[in-house]
């Protein structure tokens, strides 16, 4: 069986052109065949075109498409066209090609590329709508939380424990490691400056105050947003795609109560605990630098740490982490519930959950900084 499509063009004095094809006419040769259409009509300008396919061993739908295109071109140029040499069996493939379909315009126009101003406007509308959705979801969540407080037996405590393990226990190693290294780096970098003034002991104060007030809650919240907020969005999003959320609704459950409340309660409990651990690990990191690099005793370092932080710092850090937990879990669930479509939408929801959570963490932290400033000095 010849491996290529061979063609032979014969011209007669009366302008009749005969194209003889042999071998295989398939997808692999389609790219070589299509330029022939232009060659035949432009170079030979036939008054009649005869296509002889007696030598064709194999033809698939791409090969048939070439024949159809050849005939269409002949029609468009008012050139008489005849086809010969194809067995009845091989003619079957030609009957599969819907000529109208080839010329039929798309029913849905291709999406137009938006210009910069349109994109900006679009993004603003989406941002406002998004904020509205988050606030609306937050309101519903607060209502459901209130309902759960008054109906404690209806809360799915088994799920709460499961999510406490996922968010808290499973997250502890990475929170601990990152906080420890953060404390170590902070102590090392600050010691380089403080050493010059003989203020080595204040390294302990710096690490403790920074971690307990600010960095502990923020770092923990960012890690939880990346680990658990995204997981909440993916889990609920996949359930939406699989119509499991609709199934819950039709069975008479409140999907919000069933799916969100256990996640939110688990986060509200575990994130502050993780924050405490984060601060302890960071102080331990600073302690190592203090003892090894600055010749401080363990007792001095701990004493200085205790002196630097107040109950107000600890409580404000914990309150902050509590609010962060509410924001992360609420955004994760809200993004999950918003999923429409398939796998791509779940991926988008996951990304959006993390990005929005981190943005909210920073906004909430800034708000707290202002509020706490006035409370502290009041």
């Amino acid at each position: 069986m010849p491996d290529i499509t061979k063609h032979h063009i014969e011209t007669a004095d009366d302008g009749v052109v005969t194209l003889s094809l042999s071998g295989r006419m398939d997808l692999e040769r389609f790219g070589e065949l299509t330029p022939l259409i232009g060659t035949i009509f432009d170079s030979y300008t036939p008054s009649r075109l005869n296509v002889d396919m007696a030598g064709i061993d194999y033809i698939d739908s791409s090969g048939a498409l070439f024949v159809v295109k050849l005939e269409d071109e002949a029609r468009a140029r008012s050139v008489a066209f005849t086809l010969s040499g194809l067995s009845r069996e091989k003619m079957g493939i030609l009957s599969l090609i819907d000529r109208e379909a080839l010329a039929k315009p798309s029913l849905a126009p291709r999406e137009r590329r938006l210009n910069l101003i349109e994109q900006l406007g679009n993004a603003s509308i989406i941002a406002v709508k998004d904020m509205y959705d988050i606030v609306s979801f937050g309101g519903e969540l607060i209502y459901e939380l209130g309902h759960s407080v008054t109906h404690l037996r209806k809360v799915r405590w088994g799920d709460v424990v499961t999510y406490m393990k996922k968010v808290g226990v499973d997250g502890l190693p990475i929170v601990g490691l990152i906080s420890f290294l953060l404390g170590l780096i902070m102590a090392f970098m600050s010691s380089l400056q403080l050493k010059q003034f003989g203020a080595n002991v204040y390294v302990a104060s710096l690490v403790a105050v920074a971690m307990v007030r600010e960095l502990g809650p923020i770092m923990t919240a960012i890690i939880v947003a990346g680990r658990s907020g995204s997981a909440f969005a993916a889990e609920i999003g996949t359930m939406r795609v699989n119509e499991e959320v609709d199934a819950l609704a039709t069975m008479g459950f409140s999907p919000m109560r069933f799916l969100s409340i256990p996640k939110v309660i688990a986060s509200l409990v575990t994130v502050p605990v993780l924050t405490v651990f984060a601060s302890i690990f960071a102080i331990m990191g600073g302690l190592i630098v203090g003892v090894v690099g600055l010749n401080l005793t363990i007792f001095t370092y701990i004493q200085q740490t205790m002196k630097a932080i107040s109950i107000f710092d600890i409580v404000s850090g914990l309150v902050k982490s509590f609010v962060f937990a509410a924001a992360i879990s609420a955004v994760g669930c809200q993004r999950g519930f918003k999923v429409r479509g398939g796998a791509e939408a779940v991926g988008n929801a996951t990304t959006s959950a993390v990005v929005t959570s981190i943005f909210l963490i920073i906004v909430i932290d800034s708000t707290f900084a202002i509020i706490l400033h006035y409370i502290h000095w009041a």
Binding site: D26, L27, E28, F30, G31, T34, D60, S61, S62, L65, K69, E89, G92, I93, S95, L96, I97, D98, E100, A101, L102, K104, P105, S106, L107, A108, P109, R110, E111, G341, G342, A343, E344, A345
Partner: protein, 265 residues
Amino acid sequence: MEKGNRTTADPVIKVEGLTVRYGDNTVLDGVDFEVYPGEIFVIMGGSGCGKSTLLKHVIGIETPAEGKIRINGTDTALLDDSELRKLHMGIGMLFQSSALFGSMTIGENVALPLTEFTALPTKDITSIVRMKLGMVELAGYDNHYPAELSGGMKKRAGIARAMAMEPAMLFLDEPSAGLDPVTSAELDLLIRKLNEGTGTTMVIVTHELETIFNISHRIIMLDRDAKGIIAEGDPRVLRTSSQDARVTDFFNRRVTKKKHEGMTT
């Protein structure tokens, strides 16, 4: 096992002694069958009998515990990853869920294998995509996304994508699952039309009796308890002349006494 008529040409698929185990659970035990060029071959049987499992092994997605699968005479177990990929390029597969890529339009879905595996210019790919969509009666839907199509249209789009590379063999997993009887019958007609027009060998996994009688040339029937084939041949003949009660019960939608009792206890 009952055997029906077979052609004399060399088989394009030959399965010998295929055994599939998941842990200690044997799903298929010593399955043998052959598929001949150009035929519509149906793998049928009740739920959980291993139809889809058998299909996954035949197309090389899963590796059997024992036995050989030869595609065009080549033992698939002897192929390395790149050879297996080449083999996959020569076959088309319609998944039960259609498995269209949701982020791409229907046109892009069909064009994907053409842009990846051929050097054709965009203009040629566009005409092939339009032709394929026309063949499955979806002309004009090239810019639609899968989410905008009905179940039947998704299946047809899935067939167009599966046939984009002009495969010699097309595998269809439960093509009419979840479709209404009219859409299902339309799909059957389309499959038959494509088979007759292109001569593509089609292997279909289904338990839909309408589909089996409408389009199949030959079937094998699997049984969960037998862990293999209990009948092979023309379903129209097997329906009336089979001596095996399991076969006639299935074709005539009869609930066996044993199964019925099992359900009520």
